[in-house]
């Protein structure tokens, strides 16, 4: 099923792409051009902000983009412009053709081999494009409900930067190796900051929701209340004592931690020798029980798709299975650089998930005499080359097996990733997918052996 908007887009851009590819090969022949790839995209954006019930800001706009890569044997170069003007695009192509012989060869950068290019499987079952879109009034109404619910919570001083946005984006890619790909997505995002105040000072918190269908967004009143309650809970926070103690990560902090795991198995990091997991495929790199998978075929999933932009069909991938490293997250170029097979993730991971463990979160925490329940990290250093982990965090104190109401902040979680990865225990509460908040869903996660630097 193709919507009218999709048909209109394709009718407009397909001839442009064809003109550009034809020009690349015909005119480029004299300059040794052997292949070309064209990507055309458009996004229509709309954003509204609300302040004390009134609309404070509206931003609307449309942006086009065209990206072209030329290949001459083992040489390649690219450029992008935000215009569909084929005369201008061909002029720049010509300029690049004239100098492409100066570019050093790198066969790893070539297009995917023709035989490996898949035909794009139908995407309609993934349901990433909402045809009947809400108007601005509905977006504003969402923001107002979010704000009202947040402001109603005791201890909240005000809300700020409360915004709801809609983006309608389409992309078309065609290349001389047979690649043809089209994606259309609607994406709604809402976010807001809550400022809570007590005698001791102010504290800011933040929450957000994102979905391909407006109706899938977290209920605005629920989101506003949750944002406010989390912020109020962090008021009057204290610095914990310095020492070694277990940490327990909530879903948001766990997403960040497993994001670090993904950085450590990134193809580019392996190529550059920037990860201690280089050469560890098939080895136990995390605690037993840890399985990390990525599924691109989840209906309405934030990262879902059927064909990556290199032309590989996207299928579920297991990165870590029971703690054993199964695959690196490598693009086509990176896969060639490090000598593995590409996995159909040219554009990054899609909907990642850490499978649930067996204990309930309460059971996971029960044995901890003194520890910290971490709700988020702020910056810091994570170095996957040498394993350094040193990040500021905030959350609640754990005492005698229970999460207390004592908020803690201004401390640093230090450890070495090599050790941390092997000290992971998982609860059974992995959030469901599609998820309106997490691109990577992970259960409540306990890590032992970290140093807390506080008072």
């Amino acid at each position: 099923m193709t919507t009218k908007a999709e048909k209109d887009f394709l009718k407009k851009v397909k001839p442009v792409a064809k003109t550009l590819l034809d020009y690349a090969l015909k005119t480029g022949g004299a300059y040794g051009i052997t292949d070309a790839k064209v990507t055309i995209s458009v996004s229509e954006n709309q954003k509204s902000s609300v302040s004390n019930g009134a609309v404070s800001e509206t931003v609307t706009g449309t942006q086009w983009g065209v990206g072209i890569t030329l290949y001459a044997g083992k040489r390649s170069m690219s450029f992008s412009k935000n215009t569909l003007d084929t005369a201008k695009l061909c002029d720049t192509m010509k300029e690049n053709m004239q100098v492409i012989h100066l570019v050093p060869e790198n066969e790893n950068k070539l297009l995917l081999e023709k035989a490996k290019v898949a035909k794009q499987p139908d995407m309609s079952a993934l349901d990433l494009y909402e045809e009947n879109q809400p108007g601005q009034a509905e977006l504003i109404d969402y923001a107002r409900k979010f704000e009202k619910a947040a402001q109603a919570v005791a201890g909240v001083k005000t809300t700020d930067r409360l915004k709801v946005s809609k983006s309608v984006a389409q992309t078309y890619t065609a290349a001389t190796n047979g690649l043809e790909r089209h994606e259309a997505k609607t994406t709604y995002s809402a976010s807001g900051e809550v400022i809570a105040e007590s005698k001791q000072g102010m504290e800011a918190g933040y929450d957000y929701s994102q979905a391909h269908h407006f109706g899938d967004m977290t209920d605005p009143a629920k989101l506003g209340r949750a944002a406010a309650e989390t912020t109020v809970a962090q008021l009057d926070s204290v610095q914990p004592k310095t020492g070694e103690m277990p940490i327990v990560l909530d879903h948001a902090a766990a997403e960040e931690f497993f994001g670090t795991v993904m950085s450590a198995i990134d193809g580019s990091a392996v190529f550059n020798g920037d990860t201690f997991l280089k050469g560890q495929q098939g080895q136990q790199v995390m605690s037993k029980g840890v399985t990390l998978v990525d599924d691109p075929l989840i209906k309405r999933g934030l990262g879902s798709g059927t064909l990556d932009s290199a032309g590989l069909e996207m299928k579920p991938v297991t990165f870590i299975e029971d703690g054993v490293l199964k695959a690196f997250n490598a693009s086509v170029m990176e896969a060639r650089q490090i000598g593995v097979s590409p996995i159909g993730r040219e554009d990054g991971t899609t909907n990642s998930k850490v499978l649930p463990g067996t204990k309930t979160p309460e059971e996971l925490i029960a044995g901890i005499k003194e520890g910290i329940y971490i709700k988020g990290f702020n910056g810091g250093t994570v170095n996957t080359a040498n394993g350094t982990h040193s990040r500021e965090a905030y959350g609640l104190l754990i005492k005698n097996g229970k999460i207390t109401k004592t908020a803690v902040s201004g401390f640093v979680v230090s450890g070495n990733l090599k050790k941390m990865f092997m000290n992971v225990a998982l609860a059974n509460d992995t959030p469901k997918q599609p998820n309106t908040k997490y691109h990577l869903v992970a259960p409540t996660t306990r890590i032992d052996g970290c140093t807390i630097a506080g008072q």
Binding site: G410, S414, G415
Partner: protein, 495 residues
Amino acid sequence: MSAKNSPTDKFYEGSDLTPEKTVKTVKEGLRGADFGEFYQEKAVSESISKQNGQYTSIAVGNSSEGFGFRTGKGEQVGYSYADEFNEKALKKAIHEAREILDNGGLKPKKDDDPVGPTMEKSDELPAFGKVDKKLFSEQATLGGMTLAEKISSIDALETYTKGLDPSVTNVSISYSSTVKDVHIITQDGQELVESRPMTSLSIQVQVTDKDGNVETARTLIGGHIDCKEAFNEAACKEAAKEALEIAKTLLIAEEAPAGVMDVVLNPGWSAVLLHEAIGHGLEGDFNRKGTSVYSGKIGQKIAGDEVTVIDAGDMPGERGSLHFDDEGTRTQENVLIKDGVLQGYMQDRQNAKLMGVKSTGNGRRQSYAHLPMPRMTNTYFAPGKHKPEDIIASVKDGLYVTNMGGGQVDITSGKFNMNATLAYRIRNGKLCEPVKGAAITGDGATVIKNITMVGNDLKLEKAAGVCGKNGQSVPVGCGQPTILVKKMTVGGAGK
């Protein structure tokens, strides 16, 4: 205005609009508004990246252009942008940007002054960027060197860096350059143009010791310069040697200790701490809304006697300098804190108006697809009277930070965290062993009170600063002399 070779010509190329018509349409579009402007840009850029011996990306001939129209009244702002510039698109943008305000009662009346009665008149800026003081060259182009020359410079720098030391296991070099031409029509119909070059050359060196331990360090050359300056051979070699030196020191450095201690920050880029911990809290929007720790404190003593903080967008050659900001206001020197007393905030037009002050020339935006907001330009601690060696000598047990990484701040609570990639222990006034991975946390309001000594060796960083706020990035400069901050929380994995 002469019709021949006007500096605005390139902005109207291929468009059905003329300067006269555009100015008239924009002024009409701003009827009844408190503030607003037309902003247009045309940017060209290129980048080359070589990693681990392979050219992984060569992008040449990129361009991006577009415009945006903004109108605002009180707390309300409407903005609309498009990438194609013609009469139809401009009228559509004006219509969409006005919609929010028209609903709120901004419908233009016939007798409305084209410049709203409450509108602040624009500064008398000499048109077309012909300012009296040149902050950087507006003649820079991407074409100062051929592609072949750029590639051979990168190859030579890579060979040189690899040859510096047998412990070097990987060298990555990334070059990127852009020239952004900006065209603004202010609320009272002035047309301003400026050409803003920005180039960056990054040299990353990875070293590995005999036990397989890996460390990486990166140095940058950059700022409002073109490729020729960035590829200056002597400067490149210097940067490579510096990166190698840092990486090798990291190999022998111990993990930073954890605890509360006195911290000496070296001159230059360490001021990213000032930027995060104090600068953001002095931006007008947070203070207008009362959500900054510094809200309502003008005239109060908020810092030690030796502390003077300045944000100046008009410093020649500095990274955050602009002849005028992205709302068409002339940039200037703004003293934010003088001898410890808070003087004022950094303002754009909207927040200035709402707070009853004048814009300070700090209204900046990432691109035509973004709204301007109060942003820093070049922010620095003014030099004090102490010699740097005296500052170090005064510390009994502490840290001397030589390489600060990035950081984050929560403006509301003032809490920040910074990462000191490399530092040295100070014991009994002497620099001792190197330590790595020190996370420094605290809150800006306390830190600035705990600055007890300010050195006489002010240095500004030209290459590294990129500031993110509300999803928008802009280049910024920052700087400081050597300073001593008492009692900071340092987090590291060491003893």
